[in-house]
Amino acid sequence: MKDMFLAAWAYRYFIFSSIKNELRLRFIRSKLGALWMVIHPLMQVLIFATILSEVLSAKLPGVESKHAYALYLMAGILCWTLFAETISKCLTLFIESGNLMKKMAFPRICLPLIAAGTMIVNNALLLLAIFGVFAVMGHFPPMQVLWLPVLILLTISFAMAIGLLLGVLNVFMRDIGQVVPVILQAMFWLTPIVYSIGILPERLQRLFQFNPLYPLVASYQNVLLFGRPPMWSELLTLVIASVAIAAVALVVFRRASPEMVDAL
C-alpha cells in the first residue's frame, strides 16, 4: 500500500497538471467555460425553489429570511452535487482511461486522485457562486461556516471510497454502471435536500436518519444557514464507514489492477 502512495507522490506533477488541463479544457471548449458547471446546479435550485416554495408554499422552520427556501436548497445541493458527481465520475473512470492504461505504464492510483482533485476544484467554483447568490439575497453565512472545508473533505472522501470500489467493479461488471444512476436518483429524494426532515412523520424521521448522507447534508445546512455546529456524533459513524469502505476499495483496486487491463 505504501509503494502505491510513493508512486503517486513521484507522479505529483502529472496529477496536478492533469487537473489543470481538465479545467483548461472546459474554457477552451465552450464560451462560458466553467460557468456551465455552476449554472447546472443553480438552475436546479431555481426550478425547485420556484415550484416547491411558490406552488406548494413550503415552509421552513427556523429561517426567517424571505429567500429561506432557496438558501436551504443551495446548502443541500452543494453537498449532493459533490457526492453524486464524484461517484458518477469514478464509475466510468477506468473504462474511459482504458486505452491509456493499456498503452502506458504509470501508477494507476493517479487516475482516482486526478478525479478527486478535479471534483474539489469544481465544487469550490460552485461554492463561490453560491456565496455570490447568498450575498445577493442578503444572507451572510454564520461563523460556523469555517467548518465547511472539513465537511467538504468528509463528503469527497466518502464519495471517493464508494466511487473507487464501484469504478473497479464496473470494469468487470458493466451492469453496475447502469444501476448506480438509478440508485443515486432515489437517494436524492431520500435525503432531506429539497425538504426538511421535520416535515416527515416521526417514525419515518428515525428511518431516514440511517441514510449516511443525512448527517452530511444536515451539517452543511447547519453551518451555512442555521449557525449550528456540524452533527459530530452522527458524522463519526460516517467517518468510520468511509475509512472501512476506503480500505476495502483500496484492497480491491490493488488486487484487481493487473486484471483490469486485460478486461478493458
Binding site: 507522479y11 506533477y13 492533469s18 491509456l100 493499456k102 502506458m104 484487481a256 486484471e259
Partner: protein, 424 residues
C-alpha cells in the same frame, strides 16, 4: 546506468470466470478456480544485455503485443518474472493521451508528466523537444489542427526526449514521412551508441536487420528462434511460406563464410545448380569486378507435374538488405504445363553495378508473383560472391552509379534552382 532486462519463464493467461463474483472472490484469496485459461504466452525466457538491441518478430497472434505489454508493465504476467534495471521508455503508440484541444507544448508537458518526469525536468527538455519536432509555430497551436505526421513528430520528440536505459519501440517507426523516419532512426542509433538497450517489435524485417544485434521469433506464444537477425528473419520468411502451403519443410544451416542457407519448399520443383559466370568467357566467378558483365545460370528440375513455374532471384548485401530482386512473373516469362522430370535452364544477364563487398543470391521457384501461393523451393543465400573495385575510382556504398563529376571554376551561369540543396 545500464538497461538490462531479464525475462524468466514468463507466461500470460487470460482467464474466463463463470461469474464475475468468483473473480472478485479470488482477489481476497478465496480458493476459486477460473473456468477457462487461455495461454497466449508460455515459458518465454530471454535477456537483453546492457546496450544490446533486440528485435522481436512473429506473425499476428504470435503474442508480440502481449509480450510488449508485460515488458512495459502495463499488464502483469500470470507466471514467471520480469526484472528490469534503469529507466524504461516505451513507445507503444505515438500520441497516446494527446488531447486535441490542447497545444503541442501543453500536450508535450502532459505526456512527459505521464512518463513520470517533474516540471523542472520537462521545462529543461522542452527546447530540445520543440527543436526535434520541427513543426515551427504549430507547436503552440491546438493539436486538432495538426496533420497526423506533425502529431507523430511531437509524440516521438517527447517519447525520446530523455535518454532511457531501455527503449521499447512498437512499429512506431513505420509512421511519418521518410525524412522524419530517418531522423528518428538516427536518434535510436545515437541512443545505442550511448549505451541504451533497445527492444524493437516490428513487421519490418529490414528495420530489424538494420538496427538489431539479435532477433527473437515468437510463434504461438513461445520463442522458437533466438539468434542473429539475418538467420532468424530468413527462418521467419520460410515459416510464413510454410504456413501457406502445408507440406513444406524448413531447414537451416550456416556456411563457412557465415551466411545462413535456409531451404524451404514443397519440392515439386528443385534447384539443381546455380552458377555465376563471366558473360564473355563463361567461366565461373567467385570475385566479380565492378562493371563486369555477368550471367547467373540456374538449372531446375521438375519433380511433379506443375501448371506454372516462376523463378525469382534476390541479391542481398551482408547486412541482409535487398539490393535487387525480381522474378519471371514480373517480366512476363511464366513457363506453363511442365511435365515430371523436365529440366529448365534459366539465365539472367546483368552488369555488376554493385559496390565492393559480399553479396548473396537467393533463388525461389514458385508459381506466381509471391511465394505464398506455391513455394516449390526457396533457398536463401544459396550462392555467395564478392565484388571488388579494380578499374573504377574509389567509391563507397552498395551501388555503382557510374556517376561522373563535372567541375567548372567561376561559372558564369548561376545554379538553375537556387532553393535546392543550397548550403545555408
Amino acid at each position: 546506468m545500464s538497461g538490462e532486462m531479464r525475462v524468466d519463464r514468463v507466461g500470460k493467461a487470460y482467464r474466463v470466470w463463470n461469474s464475475e463474483w468468483m473473480r472478485a472472490a479470488s482477489w481476497f484469496g478465496l480458493p476459486v478456480q477460473p473456468s477457462e485459461e487461455h495461454w497466449v504466452l508460455r515459458d518465454v525466457s530471454f535477456t537483453i544485455a546492457p546496450g544490446e538491441a533486440v528485435g522481436v518478430i512473429g506473425q499476428n497472434g504470435a503474442g508480440k503485443s502481449t509480450l510488449l505489454k508485460l515488458i512495459t508493465g502495463t499488464s502483469q504476467p500470470s507466471e514467471g518474472r520480469i526484472t528490469r534495471t534503469g529507466r524504461v521508455a516505451a513507445i507503444l503508440e505515438l500520441g497516446m493521451g494527446f488531447n486535441p484541444d490542447l497545444s503541442g507544448r501543453q500536450n508535450a508537458f502532459h505526456s512527459a508528466g505521464l512518463m513520470g518526469y517533474s516540471q523542472e525536468q520537462i521545462e529543461q527538455a522542452m527546447p530540445a523537444i520543440e527543436a526535434f519536432a520541427e513543426i515551427g509555430e504549430y507547436f503552440d497551436e491546438a493539436v486538432r489542427t495538426y496533420s497526423s505526421g506533425m502529431q507523430v513528430r511531437v509524440a516521438f520528440a517527447v517519447a525520446t526526449a530523455f535518454t532511457p536505459d531501455l527503449l521499447i519501440v512498437d512499429e512506431a517507426l513505420s509512421v511519418g514521412d521518410s525524412y522524419f523516419q530517418h531522423k528518428s532512426f538516427d536518434r535510436m542509433r545515437r541512443f545505442r551508441e550511448e549505451g541504451t538497450s533497445i527492444m524493437l517489435v516490428s513487421h519490418s524485417m529490414s528495420d530489424v536487420k538494420a538496427l538489431c544485434d539479435r532477433a527473437i521469433l515468437l510463434e504461438r506464444g513461445r520463442v522458437i528462434r533466438d539468434g542473429l537477425p539475418d538467420e532468424v528473419v530468413d527462418y521467419y520468411n520460410a515459416l510464413v511460406a510454410k504456413k501457406e502451403n502445408e507440406s513444406l519443410s524448413v531447414d537451416q544451416r550456416r556456411t563457412k563464410q557465415g551466411w545462413v542457407v535456409t531451404r524451404s519448399g514443397s519440392g515439386e520443383a528443385k534447384v539443381v545448380s546455380l552458377r555465376l559466370v563471366d558473360a564473355g568467357t563463361g567461366r565461373e566467378v567467385a570475385v566479380a569486378k565492378v562493371g563486369q558483365a555477368l550471367r547467373l545460370e540456374l538449372d531446375a528440375s521438375v519433380e511433379h507435374a506443375i501448371a506454372h513455374l516462376v523463378l525469382g532471384f534476390m541479391i542481398r548485401d551482408k547486412q541482409g538488405h535487398v539490393v535487387w530482386g525480381s522474378n519471371t512473373w514480373h517480366t512476363g516469362q511464366v513457363e506453363s504445363d511442365l511435365a515430371r522430370s523436365e529440366r529448365v535452364r534459366y539465365t539472367l544477364h546483368f552488369t555488376c553495378r554493385l559496390g565492393p563487398g559480399s553479396y548473396s543470391v537467393s533463388p525461389a521457384l514458385v508459381s506466381s508473383e509471391t511465394h505464398l501461393v506455391d513455394n516449390f523451393e526457396w533457398i536463401d543465400n544459396l550462392l555467395v560472391f564478392d565484388v571488388m573495385n579494380a578499374d573504377e575510382p574509389m567509391f563507397i556504398g552498395s551501388n555503382w552509379l557510374d556517376a561522373r563529376f563535372a567541375i567548372e571554376r567561376n561559372p558564369s551561369v548561376p545554379a538553375s534552382s537556387p532553393n535546392r540543396g543550397e548550403v545555408p
